[in-house]
Symmetry: C2
Subunit: 208 residues, 2 copies
């Protein structure tokens, strides 16, 4: 299909498509003339993925490029691609000192041991260390104090996440759904959490 | 205290403090000379809050200003300030059409009825509608299919959140802890969720 049709089908304006092509987020189409190229369903799907990452997930163009390169790596196994792609959407970058980081590492090690979780060296573990190292003050203290009850809740969430992924059979779709589901899921869960807080707060205050 | 001491105590460089003053995020100190001002503990606490919002919460300067103005409003009650401040850190802004938004509103109305949650017009409800309206494709479909199980999990999370808030007695500290705890908590929960996914995935594949 031509770029105009691609634009209409994916609901992305032509100038935006050209920007994604220049930035290397979207692979070039097949050349069919000096100023013309032909696109297919893979381009349309990629466009939807870029939109989900940048709009719902609020990733920058640079972060989106990182995620896509993990998704695309032809050398890696499905499991590696999945792990790297999902790992790449946490992006914790805090300015913590070595002491905070060592303390955070201890908290995570102990949490994993207490929960009986796999003692893995997955990037998700470093991400969690990084996030905890960035917490401080009274809020950080209380979040850490509640970490086991939060872990109970995320175990439920992870079970839903895996049930969802298992129902998808196409390999590329699995990776895309895992990336978008994780990122869009974070936003969905954050919004649900706000509403549940309002409800819990009203319940405790005796509002009816 | 002088700006140099404030900088040392809050661990924020002097040029960054001056930037926050210019941008109106940090109130001016009391003038003590033509080129000198005096700062107190409130400035130090505000600096830590700004740092938490921009670094751990990854908010832009504009979004941080919005959050702070909700926190500061002297006309509002504690409950209103709390609701507005926590509401202001969800910031869902998606380009959804009227049809997607109406469908999302229906999903949220039905969810609230099924859960027996308060039928409130709180901004958190609009935020959730906005996030759901922005979901699409296969990942969106599955997230919505799992929404009741996600709601089970966020009810647990909200209970921990409220327990934490109830233990703090100082009014300003409650609001700050709620804002930082909600925002930093989103990041913490996202990182925990990745690690729980890795564990659940390994468990299902029979890794030991």
């Amino acid at each position: 299909m031509r770029v105009a049709e691609l634009s209409a089908r994916a609901d992305v304006p032509v100038p935006t498509i050209k920007y994604y092509l220049r930035e290397g987020l979207l692979p070039r189409g097949e050349r069919t003339g000096p100023n013309q190229a032909s696109y297919d369903e893979r381009h349309e799907r990629r466009l939807r993925l870029i939109r989900a990452l940048t709009e719902v997930g609020r990733l920058s163009i640079a972060a989106t490029r990182d995620v896509l390169s993990s998704v695309d790596d032809p050398e890696a196994s499905l499991d590696e691609r999945l792990g790297r792609a999902v790992g790449s959407v946490t992006r914790a970058q805090v300015t913590a000192g070595e002491q905070e980081r060592a303390e955070a590492r201890r908290i995570v090690d102990e949490l994993i041991a207490r929960r009986g979780w796999f003692d893995t060296s997955h990037p998700a573990r470093d991400n969690l260390v990084e996030v905890i190292a960035g917490l401080n003050g009274i809020a950080g203290e209380f979040l850490i104090a509640g970490i086991d009850r939060y872990a109970d809740a995320v175990e439920l969430i992870a079970r839903v996440d895996l049930d969802v992924t298992e129902r998808i059979t196409d390999t590329d779709a699995v990776i895309e759904a895992a990336v978008v589901g994780t990122l869009a899921g974070d936003t969905l869960l954050a919004a649900l959490r706000r509403l549940a807080q309002v409800n819990e707060s009203g319940r405790r205050l005796g509002v009816s």
